[in-house]
């Protein structure tokens, strides 16, 4: 293929594709475009709506940044991340919700009544502990098989949420999850919650940035490029992979805790396998091995859903599906023309 393109002069299409692949201009355009749409959107819809949107964005951004640590920096294509998100959300729901209102006592679950800021570290820890066990088993798998077993983790987690009724109330879901409060000051307003989410997002991004720019991150990249070489140089790659997996899962648990508190209602349908696949596509869309890219991808994802509401011929109930179609087509196109994603540093 290369020889034929070397002998004949490149066509317009080929030159265009070359520019697209080699230069970083696309990244800049995408940044400007997506953020521009976000600004226009805010101006148009008013602040109340924008606050909700921004909170959703923060939660998805924490998730996608954390997944990028595993997929982009370490090269383990995990499709099971939504399981940790779900553990966080359910942890928050079970620990803080007040279930005394339940009429159907048979479906009542144990009550803890913890405050938000005590429950959040518990969620993070729970996700971390589960990740430690799961990661110890998953560490030996690679490539395709890793994808398959991570699918398995997502499905097992979903089934546990759905079927362990004594703890999760199954398909009924858990209502009245608490909003945070500091001392006597209740953070019930949306704007306060948004500030909290932004703070946590900054913390997550900071930790990720610190990790990937330290020597620890360089070892991760070495594992991604060639695990055996990293082993030859004396690094215990198993521990590195386990460590980043647990850290990433803990961030997902944090996002889950925020999500549970934000929606005030948790049920298994938020943690289906499909959501996990969408999450992976956000990370790949935004860019592998790039924290900025993950933020961009999450922003594009959130805006895509809301932007679809303005399509005149699309009924409201199909917005989620239409977004899924767009993401699927984008994935195919990206894999064809730009396998590192919009702002990525690593080609899959």
């Amino acid at each position: 293929m290369n020889s034929s393109s070397a002998t004949t002069s490149p066509s317009v299409l080929e030159r265009g594709l070359h520019t697209l692949r080699e230069k970083g201009d696309l990244e800049l355009y995408a940044n400007v475009f997506i953020i521009g749409i976000a600004v226009i959107f805010t101006l148009w819809q008013g602040t109340g709506f924008a606050i909700t949107l921004a909170t959703v964005f923060c939660i998805w951004a924490i998730l996608s940044v954390s997944l990028n640590l595993v997929v982009g920096y370490t090269g383990l294509l995990s499709v099971g991340h939504i399981g940790f998100f779900g553990i966080g959300a359910y942890g928050m729901a079970i620990l803080t919700s007040d279930t005394s209102y339940e009429l159907l006592r048979t479906e009542a679950i144990p009550q803890f009544g913890w405050p938000f800021f005590a429950a959040l570290p518990a969620c993070v820890l729970a996700a971390g502990v589960v990740a430690l066990g799961v990661g110890a088993v998953f560490n030996r798998f690679r490539d395709d098989i890793y994808v398959l077993v991570s699918f398995g983790f997502a499905i097992i987690a979903f089934n546990v949420f759905l079927s362990w009724r004594a703890l999760t109330r199954g398909a009924f879901g858990i209502h009245d999850v608490q909003r945070p409060s500091i001392g006597g000051w209740q953070l019930t307003g949306d704007i306060e919650f948004l500030i909290l989410c932004v703070v946590f997002l900054l913390i997550a991004v900071g930790i990720s940035w610190f990790l990937v720019s330290s020597s620890f991150g360089r070892v991760l990249k070495a594992i991604r490029e060639d695990e055996q070489v990293a082993q030859v140089f004396g690094y215990q790659t198993t521990y590195y992979k386990l460590a980043i997996w647990v850290i990433s899962a803990m961030m997902a648990g944090l996002a889950g805790g925020l999500f549970g508190s934000f929606t005030k209602f948790v049920d298994p349908n938020s943690f289906i396998l499909l959501e996990s696949m969408l999450l992976v596509s956000i990370v790949i869309l935004g860019g592998l091995a790039s924290i900025r890219g993950s933020l961009l991808g999450a922003l594009a994802f959130v805006l895509l859903e809301e932007g679809m509401r303005f399509l005149p011929f699309l009924p409201d109930e199909f917005i989620g599906q239409a977004r899924q179609v767009v993401l699927g087509v984008l994935l195919v196109l990206l894999m064809l023309f730009r396998p590192q994603g919009l702002a990525g540093r690593y080609k899959l």
């Binding site: 293929m1 294509l77 088993v137 030996r140 798998f141 490539d143 395709d144 098989i145 994808v147 398959l148 077993v149 699918f151 398995g152 983790f153 499905i155 097992i156 089934n159 546990v160 759905l162 079927s163 289906i272 396998l273 499909l274 696949m277 969408l278 992976v280 596509s281 790949i284 199909f318 989620g320 599906q321 239409a322 899924q324 179609v325 993401l327 699927g328 087509v329 984008l330 994935l331 195919v332 894999m335 064809l336 396998p339 080609k347 899959l348």
Partner: protein, 452 residues
């Protein structure tokens, strides 16, 4: 003896043996506890396992040829099931969810036209180029493809008259089949095809049989359900072929690793499953009963006739695929491509065509599995992904890339699932199968029948 000792000296082998012994002991204990129920569970496991085996076989033949995971398989399984629902929606629940969308029909007609154009081009263009002008060939090909697309559109637009619209196709297929079989048998027996008389006789018999069948099918509306199976399997296969030829060929040239293909096909699966939800609603739907609802009693266990039919289809599919891969020239080329695609190209195999046909066959198997499981339970948009994963697990359990392994793995996975949920509730079925997967991968990564 030393072999045995060295086998057991490996810790993971020892663990594998211990786990297998534990599972066998558990199942044995359950069987002694209540043999009747165990037999019932075994039958259920067989009928579920037959579906997994079908999906796994389609999956294996593709995977062992191109060596990447094609996630479109899930969509193919869902397309197979939803195709039957689409064509038979006027009969299901008294036409409550009747659906016939001109856009969908148009898209499938276009896909069929494109694939027919490609097939004509690959089959005839280079042979006839010396005899006819380029323009004649192109125009003829386009016209034939357009007619084929139009025909597909008509078939999809009038699903109530399926038995009439499809009777010419059945006639043509039967006639071609009879002629080909007679010719092969004649060449095998007589050693040459010099004589004209037997060929003519086969032609007459074939056309006669085809016409008779066409008239008979056009006269029997009860055959519509079975014809719709054929149509939906064909459509799933055609979409797979079109995806391979139109997309995967270019993507494989660029792809750095199999993961790229996996992610791209994941995108295709996402798009397809969303489109299925848009066209049909997300709620589960039933399919019409194929053979009535009565159950048979075999040794005290109740089993539906349809489940036996499913198992039979899986076995027939396995035998057919084995024959195709081991006995025919096509099978030899497929295995050659699986061994080394570059070398296969060098020795003059048109790999694009062969792999495209493999994709067609694989998707037909997936669609068959999807529609059989849809008849058994109900159809829902996410069934495709679950069936794909189950087929994937079955092929890992049986030994990845091995056809015998696929069918054995499918049946074993079905059995293990059924016996696993004996003491739990039925909703833990998926958990059981993924635990089986993780155990197998940890302790027995080659599977039961490893590929040589």
């Amino acid at each position: 003896m030393t072999d045995v000792r060295s086998y057991f000296s490996s810790r993971s082998n020892l663990l594998a043996v211990v786990m297998t012994a534990l599972v066998v002991a558990y199942i044995g204990w359950k069987i002694t506890e209540s043999p009747d129920q165990a037999l019932q569970f075994a039958f259920n496991g067989m009928s579920v396992g037959a579906v997994y085996a079908l999906v796994a076989m389609g999956f294996t033949i593709v995977y062992s040829t191109v060596w990447f995971f094609d996630m479109y398989y899930g969509a193919a399984a869902a397309l197979g099931a939803y195709g039957v629902f689409y064509l038979r929606s006027s009969e299901t629940l008294g036409g409550l969810y009747e659906i016939n969308n001109p856009i969908v029909n148009g898209i499938f007609a276009l896909v069929v036209a494109g694939v027919v154009a490609w097939a004509l081009h690959t089959a005839f263009y280079y042979r006839l180029r010396s005899r006819f002008s380029d323009r004649t060939l192109r125009i003829t090909g386009s016209v034939v493809a357009a007619i084929a697309g139009l025909y597909a559109g008509i078939v999809l637009t009038y699903p109530k008259e399926l038995h009439i619209t499809l009777s010419p196709v059945v006639a043509a297929l039967v006639a071609t089949g009879v002629v080909l079989i007679c010719r092969t048998a004649y060449i095998r027996i007589a050693g040459s095809d010099g004589l004209k008389v037997p060929t003519l006789a086969a032609l007459v018999v074939g056309i006669g049989l085809g016409l008779f069948l066409a008239v008979w099918i056009a006269d029997s509306p009860g055959s519509k359900l079975y014809l719709s199976w054929g149509v939906s399997c064909f459509l799933a296969g055609v979409v797979s072929l079109a995806l391979y030829r139109g997309l995967y060929v270019y993507m494989r040239e660029r792809a750095r690793s199999p993961l790229v293909m996996l992610v791209a096909t994941l995108g295709i699966l996402l798009a397809f499953s969303a489109l299925i939800v848009i066209v049909f609603e997300p709620t589960p739907r039933p399919l019409p009963e194929p053979f009535g609802n009565e159950t048979m009693n075999i040794l005290g266990a109740a089993i539906k006739g349809f489940n036996i039919f499913t198992i039979a289809i899986a076995v027939i599919g396995f035998l057919g695929l084995t024959w195709l891969l081991k006995m025919t020239t096509f099978g030899r080329t497929v295995r050659a491509i699986g061994d080394d695609e570059e070398v296969a190209k060098v020795v003059g195999i048109n790999t694009t065509v062969i792999v495209a046909i493999v994709f067609f066959i694989g998707a037909v198997f997936a669609a068959l599995g999807g529609l059989l499981s849809g008849h058994d339970t109900a159809i829902q948009p996410r069934m495709g992904l679950l069936l794909l994963l189950k087929g994937w697990i079955a092929s890992v359990v049986g030994g990845i890339g091995n056809l015998q392994g696929a069918i054995v793995g499918g049946f074993i996975l079905g059995m293990l699932e059924q016996f696993g949920i004996w003491d739990l509730a039925g909703e833990w079925r998926d958990v059981v199968s993924f635990l089986v997967l993780i155990l197998f991968l940890s302790f027995w990564p080659t599977g039961i029948l490893p590929r040589k």
